[in-house]
């Protein structure tokens, strides 16, 4: 299974998610993200869902947690590469109200 990858560029942290975004992976992602946010002046978190095949409500917690952290520092959370099954979870949980969708054309 592909693991999550973290990348920090300036104030932007990109989290390339693995195949599953469940409780098991959520714990790891939260720990890693917290580490980087503590270490670097991050005010943009980008979740890349390109490789995600499964997400449950634990994934919502991961996004909401980073949203809270970013709102403390006046930052924002972005998502990209969302597929059909993840889109349903986002729609149902109202997550699109908290995050900004990036598509390829908008990316710097």
């Amino acid at each position: 299974m592909k693991a999550e990858q973290f990348e920090v560029d300036g104030k932007t942290m990109t989290i390339r998610l693995g195949e599953d975004l469940d409780h098991h992976n959520a714990v790891y992602i939260r720990e890693m993200a917290d580490c980087y946010i503590e270490k670097y002046p991050i005010d943009r978190v980008v979740f890349d869902f390109g490789g995600v095949k499964f997400m449950d409500s634990s994934g919502i917690g991961v996004i909401m947690g980073r949203y809270k952290q970013m709102s403390y520092v006046g930052g924002k959370v972005f998502v990209r590469g969302i597929g059909k099954s993840v889109d349903r979870i986002f729609q149902m949980s109202g997550l699109y109200k908290l995050v900004t969708r990036l598509d390829a054309a908008e990316e710097a």
């Binding site: 409780h23 098991h24 714990v27 499964f54 449950d56 409500s57 634990s58 099954s85 979870i89 949980s93």
Partner: protein, 153 residues
């Protein structure tokens, strides 16, 4: 088509690695039914929620107890039971409220039961403090004919 029946029961330790295992077992069981992508995603998500609840809430992440999962196929009807012998739920009604979580510090969204309800057709929860929890969910799978043809009687 014959009314095919199949049952699989597994017990696994309450560790988060087994959330994926539980989903894979159910997905493998469903394969012969040719579920749609959405149906498969629905059931996998519901299973994941129930198993995650047992691990996080039932056993308080202590990896001491076993989670039991039973998956039964009876024709198109899928019945999944996830049970634990953990702490149990004091107030089931409250636990099932959307966005309610007893563990906000763990970044739980409080959407677990809501997703089980939304993705399955029936959901029942039996629990009492100290007595563990039994979650039973059912869903009918549509059995599509190849190339959308009308089934022959």
């Amino acid at each position: 088509m014959e009314n095919q029946r199949n049952v699989c029961e597994i017990d696994f330790l309450a560790v988060s690695e087994n959330e994926a295992l539980a989903r894979m077992v159910v997905a493998a069981m469903l394969m012969p039914l040719n579920p749609t992508v959405d149906e498969l995603a629905d059931i996998k998500t519901a299973v994941s929620e129930a198993v995650t609840n047992a691990i996080i809430h039932g056993y308080n992440q202590n990896a001491v107890g076993m989670v039991h999962m039973r998956c039964e196929l009876d024709g198109k009807l899928v019945t999944i039971v996830v049970s634990d012998h953990g702490v149990g739920i004091e107030n089931i009604e409250q636990a099932m409220e959307p966005l309610y979580t007893s563990k906000p510090e763990l970044e739980r969204s409080g959407m677990g039961f809501s997703f089980m309800e939304a993705f399955m057709e029936t959901l029942s929860v039996e629990s009492a403090p100290g007595k563990g929890t039994v979650v039973k969910m059912t869903k009918q799978i549509c059995l599509p004919e190849p190339d959308g043809q009308v089934p022959e009687e």
